[in-house]
């Protein structure tokens, strides 16, 4: 019998904000020591009150707009109660009754054609801390408590692991390019709800939930393992399926049921009286919309139209930093396709040779635009442009000053170039003679002589044209 997989996802994404969701602690990701980034509020001391970080609302709304959601104009927070040492207040502030975004839709490009995935809701919540175990003791680290998260809940619309991975990849690109989240290792975590049914059936099978996975590889493996387990149970009666929460073990590649105690808790949700309902009025929503970066799909389309290849587009979308550098440089009046080539070919090549990562790329859009314009205006040639880029990336040089200091901009005016071409013609009568007698190679020698005189700074096409013109 053929079976169909039915999968729904809950994805937690850490937002890129300067401070935590309800206090002013910042920089938890840079904290070296446990509890370096805590205050009385996020460590659960009495007398402290949560104060809403507005940026979290704006990023959550932006994410909702990207996923074509309805934005709630009235949104509230609830408390979810459970005891665990990494949860300092013994409750997590989250959204149950009035989430910030609902009813969204994303379209995936899959090998089976386009697939629509409905988004049920997006809600805001705070992260918990973590436990550090050592010998017989356990310690709590609250650096992560109250770090802002959004949870994106889909309808059970996925039919394969491939679709799930495509969706997650899309979220990742979208959120990185939109400044929602850096989506670094562990900053995106998934709970997968999965069931299996005979193809053509409209009833759902027994559903299990696999909790808290962060690598795409693990998610894919877990789905495949779990699907097979369900199918074996249905087909061969290997075991009785029960609705339960499971965890995926990376080492064995299998899923295991979690203890009931951890899963069947009554979280006693209720409204948080310390946080007033948030009202998103027209003015605020419009401001968020105006600040929203172009959606990835639209962006990809723009790039494609400008002639950038699909492979290059994927490279650009995978890294927010180079994406921004491209957009900002284009905004300064540079050609889109040229700029992409400068970034993806020249800059990346230089970085690779220097053994540096993209994170270490320290080139401003202004400086990059200066180089690109000097080349396109014929002030320096492409080769010299590359030299300038190397100096910028390796030594943080300023392009204009570097050109001046190294004489690259000396031959900027065409009369200087013309003078050199004339001198070369006068000084190489034999070569001129040969060329006039039909020896095409002789032109190459004359051209080489010009380039030598110009120290590689002149525009090769201009020089060639000048030579041909003068030798006629």
């Amino acid at each position: 019998m053929n079976y169909e997989l039915v999968i729904g996802l809950e994805t937690h994404v850490e937002l890129s904000t300067e401070s935590k969701i309800f206090c002013s602690c910042g920089g938890h990701s840079a904290a070296n020591e446990p509890n370096d980034c805590v205050c009385p509020a996020c460590s659960g001391m009495p007398g402290m009150l949560p104060v809403m970080n507005k940026r979290v609302v704006e990023l959550a709304v932006t994410a909702g707009l990207m996923l074509n959601c309805e934005i709630s104009r009235y949104t509230t927070f609830d408390k979810k109660n459970y005891f665990y040492p990494d949860l300092p207040c013994a409750y997590q502030i989250t959204q149950l009754n009035h989430p910030i975004c609902t009813n969204g839709l994303v379209t995936l490009k899959t090998s089976q054609g386009p697939r629509d995935i409905r988004i049920k809701q997006i809600h805001m919540e705070e992260d918990a801390g973590k436990l550090v175990h050592s010998g017989n003791s356990s310690f709590v680290d609250f650096n992560r408590t109250s770090v802002p998260l959004i949870e994106i809940v889909t309808q059970p619309d996925f039919r394969s692991a491939e679709e799930v991975i495509t969706y997650l990849g899309k979220l990742k690109n979208m959120f990185r390019s939109g400044g929602i989240s850096e989506c670094e290792e562990g900053a995106m975590r998934c709970d997968v709800n999965i069931s299996v049914r005979p193809e053509g059936s409209s009833e759902f099978g027994v559903r299990t939930e696999i909790k808290n996975m962060s690598s795409f590889e693990a998610i894919e493996k877990a789905i495949k393992y779990e699907a097979q387990r369900h199918m074996d149970a249905i087909e061969f009666g290997t075991e009785e399926l029960v609705q339960e929460t499971r965890r995926f073990d990376d080492v064995s590649g299998k899923t295991f049921a979690m203890r009931n105690k951890e899963t069947e808790a009554d979280y006693r949700y209720f409204p948080d009286a310390n946080l007033m309902p948030i009202v998103i009025d027209d003015e605020w929503l419009e401001a968020i919309k105006a600040a929203k970066p172009t959606a990835v799909d639209e962006k990809a389309e723009q790039y494609r139209e400008s002639g950038i290849s699909d492979k290059e587009i994927d490279m650009l979308l995978a890294n927010n930093k180079i994406l921004r550098l491209l957009d900002d440089t284009v905004a300064l009046g540079c050609n889109m396709k040229d700029t992409a080539a400068y970034i993806l070919t020249d800059c990346m090549g230089i970085l690779r040779k220097a053994g540096k990562t993209i994170a270490e790329l320290d080139v401003t859009a202004e400086n990059l635009a200066t180089v690109i314009k000097m080349v396109s205006d014929g002030k320096i040639n492409r080769n010299a442009g590359k030299k300038v880029l190397i100096a910028m990336i390796e030594d943080g040089a300023d392009p204009t000053e570097f050109c001046k200091a190294n004489g690259l901009d000396k031959q900027v005016d065409s009369s200087a170039v013309e003078g050199i071409v004339d001198a070369v013609i006068t000084n190489n009568p034999q070569a001129v003679e040969d060329f006039r007698n039909g020896k095409v190679k002789a032109l190459q020698a004359l051209f080489g002589a010009c380039m030598k005189e110009l120290k590689g700074a002149g525009d090769p096409t201009v020089i060639k044209a000048l030579l041909e013109q003068k030798l006629k």
């Binding site: 009495p46 040492p85 209720f270 009286a273 310390n274």
Partner: protein, 393 residues
């Protein structure tokens, strides 16, 4: 009785209840669970008083988390004999000019009535709750004990106004506490509430009404039967929120930790069993129950709806009257009793005090009676109190 849990300054003029934080002074909310806890900062109200040159004399005893009648069940200062509120007594004796307390379930107002001083439970959101050891966040307010209306006014003018550190703080920078002429004001007495009090208390209310009349205030008796309903709703919300807010006291981070435990569950259970008193445990159990999946809709959710109904009903009354005059409690004095009876006793007494907590409106205790008003009517309440206080001088 031992009023101070911690003495801070011999010449201080403001006492601060143990439910409010003063930087570096032990803050326990009367509970063993917070034994040894010293806050890193002061409550906003305390900071504002400091800035205006007031000094804190010390931390005064309260009942555990302010859940009892007047402060009888403090772990640090248990009371025998006739019950009194510590901060209210210090104000009554003239040892301090004023005191700060947290009004959550009427304990501060009852204490003021028993000691014959004033206590204002201000409009919700007008005084920052930053630095209040919170239990029932949706209805608790930091308030002021003082000898008379003038004293309350003086302190309120310092501590009220917007605070960024409290998400429930209203935007206004200041409010009106001026004492003005009361001629022509209209006050009502709620028949159903008055009937719940003993004769001595009734006599106090009636005497207050007579003095008001003598000063040109109209006093009428009206009928309104929402108070029992309001009380049940508030007890449900109060228990639920308190249960949740004291969950953080688990023996892991600060405060009392049991000596014996074999794992994290035992650490929680043993620390909390030893740390909380019977009344707090009762509140935790009720609160946990009303929030549970099966009960939420019929208890917590319904109480939120009752809150709206009571708010509308009170708005109707305040459309015709400037204030409602009521008893503060059913009796004029209490003797110590067994803690097993506390939950029911407090429940019965809070029928007089619950409405301002439930709907966020202000209430002023003065001359052993209570004046309730609509939001931001503190000036009217203080003016009515003042005219009676001056007659008694």
């Amino acid at each position: 009785m031992n009023e101070y849990i911690t003495k801070i300054c011999e010449t201080g003029n403001i006492a601060v209840d143990d439910t409010i934080l003063v930087k570096d002074a032990a803050a326990t909310a009367g509970s063993r669970i917070l034994e040894g806890f010293k806050p890193l900062f002061s409550a906003e109200a305390v900071t504002r008083l400091h800035e205006k040159g007031y000094t804190v004399s010390g931390k005064t005893a309260t009942g555990e988390f302010g859940l009892d009648l007047v402060g009888e069940f403090s772990y640090y200062a248990p009371q025998e004999g006739t019950l009194k509120g510590a901060a209210a007594e210090l104000v009554a004796n003239g040892e301090v000019k004023a005191a700060l307390g947290v009004d959550m379930n009427g304990a501060t107002r009852r204490a003021a009535a028993l000691s014959g001083v004033d206590f204002l439970k201000p409009t919700y959101g007008t005084v920052s709750r930053y630095g209040v050891i919170s239990c029932a966040a949706s209805g608790e307010q930091l308030g002021v004990y003082a000898k008379n209306a003038d004293g309350v006014k003086e302190i309120m003018e310092v501590i009220a106004g917007h605070d960024d550190k409290d998400g429930t703080s209203l935007p206004a920078e200041s409010y009106d506490y001026s004492i003005a002429d009361v001629k022509g004001k209209k006050v009502c007495i709620v028949k159903e509430l008055l009937e719940k009090a003993d004769d001595e208390t009734k006599a106090k209310v009636n005497a207050f009404a007579e003095t008001l009349k003598a000063n040109g205030v109209t006093v009428e008796t009206v009928s309104c039967d929402i108070f029992d309903l309001a009380n049940t709703a508030w007890q449900i919300l109060m228990c639920a929120e308190t249960c949740n807010n004291v969950s953080r006291y688990d023996g892991v981070k600060y405060g009392h930790r049991a000596e014996k435990y074999r794992n994290i569950d035992e650490l929680y259970v043993n620390s909390r069993t030893e740390g909380f008193n019977f009344l707090t445990k009762t509140v935790i159990l009720y609160g946990s129950d009303v929030l549970s999946k099966n009960r939420y809709k019929d208890c917590y959710d319904k109480s939120l709806r009752v809150r709206r109904v009571v708010s509308e009903k009170m708005a109707e009354i305040f459309a015709s009257f400037d204030a409602v005059l009521t008893p503060v409690c059913s009796k004029t004095s209490y003797e110590s009793y067994d803690m097993n009876e506390a939950f029911i006793k407090v429940f019965e007494e809070s029928v007089f005090t619950c409405v301002p907590n439930l709907i966020g409106s202000p209430a002023l205790v003065t001359s052993g009676v209570q004046l309730m008003g609509k939001n931001f009517s503190e000036s009217t309440l203080l003016s009515l109190a003042d005219v009676v206080e001056r007659m008694g001088e």
